[in-house]
């Protein structure tokens, strides 16, 4: 019961903070079309050069409109750095002394931030999807997409949180961030839609959890899915999420043994 109260309090507090910060809202609204602008011209050029004769313009532009919307839903890197700073400086002692669950507070901060993001950027994304890709998905498909996108985003959050926690062992996590970010960009489909890769690559992508973060939800939106396939994807997302959260718990427990209130 206490845990739920803390979670609710943390969510409400962060929601107020997110709404109060007008400049953050503005940068989100600006950042999204700015990235889309770059991708738009790149792919226009790629398609004009007939680099992928089978790829339709509406699919590729729609793909990036939605995938960029998901990619910058939350500042994952910043969160990872914040977790690092809180551990390195010893600030997490405040949480430990008051018996406040550090992970839950961070999760609620994430939930509040994406709530504001969804409220402010979704209309822009939906309009852009209509204008740029001329795609307006039906309600069932939209709901399936939103559910998969939500779970995919939580999975991403969990991984980035774990990278933050690694500070207990490495003291600095910038290098790991650079490494993982590059890996995630390719394997999740945020750099290129996974279907443009050769078949051997796609077999590897299917085994790994990263495609569930971006590619799977977006692909469902444009190519549709069966109920059974949808349920399999949801199951896989929950499975990987449970695995990453278990890993987070192990690192946290082991990390606290190394931690002194003065930091690491």
């Amino acid at each position: 019961m206490r845990l739920i109260d803390i979670a609710r309090e943390a969510y409400m507090l962060n929601l107020k903070k997110a709404f109060a910060n007008r400049i953050e809202l503005f940068t989100k609204l600006f950042g999204y079309p700015a990235r889309l602008f770059m991708v738009y011209f790149l792919w226009l050029s790629v398609l004009e050069n007939r680099a992928f004769p089978d790829l339709e313009k509406s699919y590729i532009l729609g793909y990036y409109t939605v995938s960029l919307f998901l990619v910058q839903m939350y500042p994952f890197i910043r969160k990872s750095r914040e977790v690092r700073e809180q551990i390195f400086s010893g600030e997490i002692a405040n949480y430990l002394a008051r018996n406040i669950p550090f992970g839950v507070v961070n999760l609620m901060e994430y939930a509040a931030t994406i709530s504001v993001y969804l409220l402010s950027v979704t209309p822009v994304a939906y309009i852009l999807l209509g204008i740029v890709a001329k795609v307006l998905p039906g309600l069932t498909l939209l709901l399936m997409f939103l559910f998969l996108a939500f779970l995919g985003s939580v999975l991403r959050f969990a991984v980035w949180y774990v990278i933050g926690l690694l500070t207990f062992y490495t003291h600095e996590n910038m290098g790991i961030i650079t490494f993982y970010l590059t890996l995630e960009n390719v394997l999740s489909g945020s750099l290129l839609p996974l279907r443009v890769f050769p078949e051997q690559f796609q077999k590897v992508f299917n085994i790994l959890p990263f495609r569930l973060m971006i590619y799977t939800p977006v692909d469902v939106l444009f190519n549709g899915t069966t109920v059974s396939q949808f349920l399999i994807n949801v199951f896989l997302q929950i499975f990987w999420l449970a695995l990453v959260l278990a890993l987070a718990a192990v690192i946290w427990k082991g990390g606290l043994k190394k931690f002194t209130a003065c930091g690491v």
């Binding site: 950042g31 050029s45 993982y180």
Partner: protein
């Protein structure tokens, strides 16, 4: 002369600190180098996939495009070396830590940048340098030292202007307080470095070498090194680069001056 000597002394301290960091954060440095090697590999893979069915993309052969990726990587490495915290200037303002800097006989933003030089990031350039050697041998790219150095100079210039843009956006903190998401804004802009500007219509290309510096970050360096033509002659590009640097220096100085008038020490 005294001013130069003062900055030189500070530089020595900054470089000393960065090598101490290298020794302390060894694991992270190693991951950083691996991360950069991976970033380069991913870029190569990206272009490999794009070139699956074509031989020339917007006038670039695959070998030339690979060289472009190396210059794009140099831009990121130089940024990480010389101005890794330029975009974090707002933190000094927001937290009021600027007070400490104001008591010192150097401009706060100069001191902040010098003390945060990360020379250890020079190792991140190793994969790109090796990649260029591979390109020269396997793709028979002809590069001469003078053009290459000129290309690197443009690269560095873009880094300086980009840091001025980051510091200019950071001054928004004088008016709006905490602006954590400002990094996202500069991250969005830095994407302009990763793809050749020949994909843009002419008016955007001109914008990128006059008002914004991103044309000088990777497209122009690669074209200069490859001795390929672009908009205008070399002297006109140099003039454009000087204009960009003066423009952003003036914008930053103006914003800083106006911001300092609003600054109230505690919490900016």
């Amino acid at each position: 002369m005294r001013e130069i000597r003062k900055h030189f002394e500070l530089m020595k301290i900054g470089i000393g600190l960065s090598f101490r960091r290298l020794l302390y954060f060894r694991a992270s440095t190693l991951f950083s180098i691996l991360g950069n090697a991976l970033f380069l590999l991913v870029n190569i893979l990206f272009w490999r996939v794009i070139y699956t069915n074509i031989e020339v993309f917007n006038g670039w052969t695959i070998g030339q495009m690979y060289l472009f990726t190396a210059f794009s990587e140099f831009f990121h490495v130089f940024t990480m070396m010389f101005f890794p915290v330029a975009g974090k200037l707002w933190r000094l303002i927001y937290t009021g830590r600027l007070d400490t800097y104001l008591t010192k006989p150097v401009e706060p933003y100069v001191l902040m940048n010098i003390l945060n030089i990360r020379m250890e990031n020079i190792f991140n350039a190793v994969p790109s340098v090796l990649w260029i050697f591979i390109l020269i041998n396997f793709y028979k790219l002809r590069l001469d030292i003078l053009s290459f150095l000129m290309a690197l100079l443009f690269n560095l210039l873009a880094v300086i202007v980009y840091s001025l843009i980051q510091m200019s956006t950071s001054t928004a903190s004088f008016w709006f307080g905490k602006i954590t998401a400002i990094d996202e804004l500069s991250d969005s802009l830095v994407m302009l470095v990763n793809y050749p500007h020949t994909i843009f219509p002419l008016y955007i290309r001109i914008l990128m070498i006059t008002i914004l510096p991103f044309g000088y970050a990777s497209t122009i360096p690669a074209l200069i090194a490859l001795k390929m033509g672009y908009i205008g002659t070399l002297p006109s590009l140099i003039l454009g680069a000087i204009f960009t640097i003066v423009l952003w220096l003036s914008i930053f100085k103006l914003l800083w001056k106006l911001g300092m008038k609003r600054y109230e020490s505690y919490g900016g």
